[in-house]
């Protein structure tokens, strides 16, 4: 063989090898299916509708397994402690943002972000912090926020007969409440006089009532933790918040509030049988949907929680440590795509709760949803539940105390003291 023939053969072999490798890689991407356990909420369905676009672009298939929130933690944990997780893409609640990294269940996304020049600057900083970002690590990329505010019926608050009756009864004008006391007073009044429940409340022990109570706590000026992360829950503000919470459960809320979850409150509000609900701000378009909620659509509005602060929360995307590297890479490809400006705007136009400031201020989004301005205020004014390794356990502990106090099994004072002591104990564990 001459030297030129040898060169040609070598070049052809290399070309063939490269082509084979490329086709094998392409084949691999096409073979990868990302599986994620997702909460069965509108946000998930919005993303799901866009998935064919991602698959067409990358060849990577994505499957969502949708379940209710209460079952998610256990299902994820059992997968994350196993040899290989069945889920290779994770939707992680901020309440687990302390626990999952502490257990080394997640891949640090910071090196991936740096290598792929993924820009985190447009993300709302508090959302990144909420999900455990530090100078050294980024366990999660924000997915959507679920800050909480007040959704209320505009037709009832502006009803002339009700206004007159409220004025006669309290000497005050019936208007959007500005304080927690006012809110509970209006809620009780609506229940008594407007023929609806004053407040659709999610008082089931655990995540539902812990989240709901947090709004009351922040609204009354209370906090779980001080600036130095010491426990400051045992305070007059916390007692006031719990007293008002119990008062509203007993005298303003629907029957069965102590066993109700988010789904129950949404159904009640949707049926037009409630004046208000303290809930996630992105519930507004769901209730405003004339097809789904004809009794309440176009009669509801969103406001920041009376008192100025509500509970702030959010979900993030994560990648499990116990899946093969090619699946981790595919998951990162998906995260970059789904949180890009282009896809985030597409999602926002369908009702997505943004985590990027440039989406909140996008003209197209604001033209379709003017209330996103209020939503941004809700997000900006939100305060966080304590995030640490045992946040999920603390939710249950706090929820038990609130539920026990609301059902008459303990006093407000004892419930707050026990909740504060429990928080201290769990944080020191």
């Amino acid at each position: 063989m001459t030297s030129s023939a040898w060169t040609r053969t070598t070049a052809l072999s290399l070309l063939a090898a490269t082509a084979l490798t490329a086709s094998a890689t392409a084949g691999k991407a096409a073979d990868i299916t990302l599986r994620a356990l997702m909460e069965d909420v509108p946000e998930t369905r919005i993303i799901e509708a866009l998935l064919p676009e991602f698959t067409a672009k990358t060849g990577i298939k994505v499957e969502f397994e949708k379940i209710g929130y209460p079952d998610m933690h256990d299902k994820l944990v059992t997968q994350l402690v196993s040899a290989e997780s069945a889920y290779n893409l994770l939707e992680v609640d901020f309440l687990w943002a302390g626990e999952f990294p502490a257990a080394n269940w997640l891949v640090d996304l910071k090196p991936m972000a740096e290598a792929s020049k993924f820009d985190t600057a447009p993300f709302v900083p508090s959302m990144l912090d909420l999900l455990g970002r530090t100078a050294e690590k980024m366990p999660l990329v924000p997915m959507y926020n679920y800050s909480m505010g007040l959704i209320y019926r505009t037709d009832l608050i502006s009803d002339e007969k009700l206004k007159t009756a409220y004025k006669q009864e309290t000497g005050k004008e019936l208007a959007l409440p500005q304080t927690l006391e006012d809110y509970v007073a209006v809620s009780k009044f609506m229940k008594a006089k407007a023929g609806v429940e004053g407040s659709a409340m999610q008082g089931q022990r655990g995540d539902p009532n812990a989240m709901e109570f947090s709004n009351y706590l922040f609204s009354a000026g209370g906090h779980y933790l001080g600036n130095d992360r010491s426990v400051v829950l045992d305070s007059p503000e916390a007692r006031k918040a719990l007293d008002l919470y119990i008062d509203n459960i007993k005298n303003g809320a629907q029957q069965g509030a102590l066993s109700a979850t988010l789904d129950d409150t949404l159904r009640l509000m949707c049926s037009g049988k409630a004046f208000s609900m303290v809930t996630y701000w992105w519930m507004l378009p769901q209730i405003n949907d004339a097809k789904a909620c004809p009794e309440a659509a176009d009669k509801v509005a969103l406001s920041v929680m009376p008192g100025g602060h509500g509970e702030s929360g959010g979900w993030g995307w994560g990648i499990p440590a116990n899946v093969p590297e090619d699946q981790q890479k595919a998951a990162w490809t998906f995260i970059q795509w789904v949180q890009s400006k282009e896809i985030s705007v597409k999602r926002a136009l369908q009702g997505h709760a943004p985590v990027r400031t440039d989406v909140f201020s996008d003209p197209e989004v604001l033209a379709k949803y003017p209330f996103y301005k209020t939503a941004e205020q809700v997000v900006a004014s939100g305060q966080s539940f304590p995030i640490f390794t045992y946040s999920a356990e603390y939710e249950n502990l706090l929820g038990t105390q609130i539920s026990t106090a609301a059902s008459g099994g303990t006093s407000t004072d004892e419930a707050i003291k026990a909740s504060a002591a429990g928080l201290k104990e769990l944080m020191s564990r």
Binding site: P70, H73, D74, V77, V81, E99, A102, A103, E197, G203, Q204, R205, G206, Q254, Q255, G256, A257, L258, S259, A260, D264, R267, L268, S271, K273, T389, Y390, A392, E393, E395, N396, G399, T400, S403, T404, A406, S407, G408, G409, T410
Partner: protein, 298 residues
């Protein structure tokens, strides 16, 4: 010598036949049980998945020191006792009625197996919707009949009773089938003799049916007692142990420790305690049953 040799052979053959089954039992029952004991005596948590170091009975000491644990134990005993009594009484009544309904019995048996064939999670979800206080059909029917709506699961006073009712609704079918089989197997002669002696139907029931049904009834009760002590699905779906801790049974307590508190070791300790209660109950019950059998004329 000859007899002894045959005994040895039979003994060896017996063990040879039993060995595969015993080996299988050791793998599928012995290993998980042994591992749960190790877990209960270890420092294993979801954050630190290692059995070492062993901590002896420390995890038991921690849960025994928890007021909520003893609350859950007492609640479980109360819940199981009430549910099993309810299932037995309702089951016996239905079984006695079915004894007379000879022609339609297959139809009733078919209908009765429906709740039994449903998974407890599905049953709980269905009843949760039916009992929904504002939009559920049960309260709607009550209102239509001019009665007030009831807060079935949101009231600390009523939630446990509601859970007991749902449990009885699902589990009674099994008791009916067992008792109906027991009733069908009873001999006719004692009844014929009682008729001749002029015994009333009530006397026949208390002096013939019940004593002769005792072994089957005992089996039904012990199986249901074990089932009820393990109840987890209903509180998980219906109430999450609330309001307050009014429906937090021991298995839910163990789940909470293991998966919310991340302490698999303490969850295992609570579960092991539950197992001990069930074992103790089973042994006591069988001893009493044996004694009763020994004194009951057949």
């Amino acid at each position: 010598m000859k007899a002894s040799g045959r005994f040895d052979r039979e003994w060896r053959t017996g063990w040879a036949f039993a060995a595969p089954g015993l080996a299988l039992l050791a793998v599928v029952m012995g290993f998980p049980l042994g591992y749960s004991v190790l877990m209960a005596m270890s420092s294993l948590t979801l954050l630190k998945p290692s059995l070492l170091p062993f901590v002896g009975f420390d995890n038991f000491a921690v849960i025994f020191g928890d007021r909520l644990f003893w609350g859950a134990v007492l609640l479980t005993i109360r819940y199981s006792a009430v549910t099993v009594i309810g299932e037995f009484l309702v089951g016996l009544a239905i079984a006695l009625m079915l004894k007379r309904a000879v022609r339609t019995r297959p139809l009733y048996f078919g209908l009765l197996t429906i709740p039994m064939a449903m998974s407890p999670i599905s049953v709980a979800l269905v009843w949760k919707m039916l009992l929904q206080p504002n939009l559920g059909i049960v309260n709607h029917l009550l209102e239509t009949a001019g009665l007030p709506r009831v807060d079935w699961l949101g009231s600390a006073d009523l939630a446990l009773s509601t859970m007991v009712f749902v449990d009885i609704w699902q589990q009674t079918s099994f008791v009916v089938l067992l008792l109906a089989a027991g009733l069908a197997a009873l001999p006719k002669e004692p009844y014929e003799a009682a008729e001749v002696d002029g015994a009333t139907a009530l006397q026949q029931f208390f002096y013939i049916t019940l004593p002769m049904l005792r072994p089957v009834a005992g089996i039904a009760i012990i199986i249901q007692l074990i089932n009820e002590f393990r109840t987890y699905d209903l509180p998980y779906v219906l109430t999450r142990g609330g309001p307050g801790t009014s429906t937090e049974v021991l298995s839910y307590f163990a789940y909470r420790k293991a998966f919310l508190g991340l302490s698999l070791n303490q969850g295992a300790a609570a579960a092991f305690f539950l197992l001990l209660i069930i074992l103790l109950l089973t042994v006591v019950f069988f001893i009493r049953l044996e004694k009763a059998d020994a004194v009951t004329p057949h």
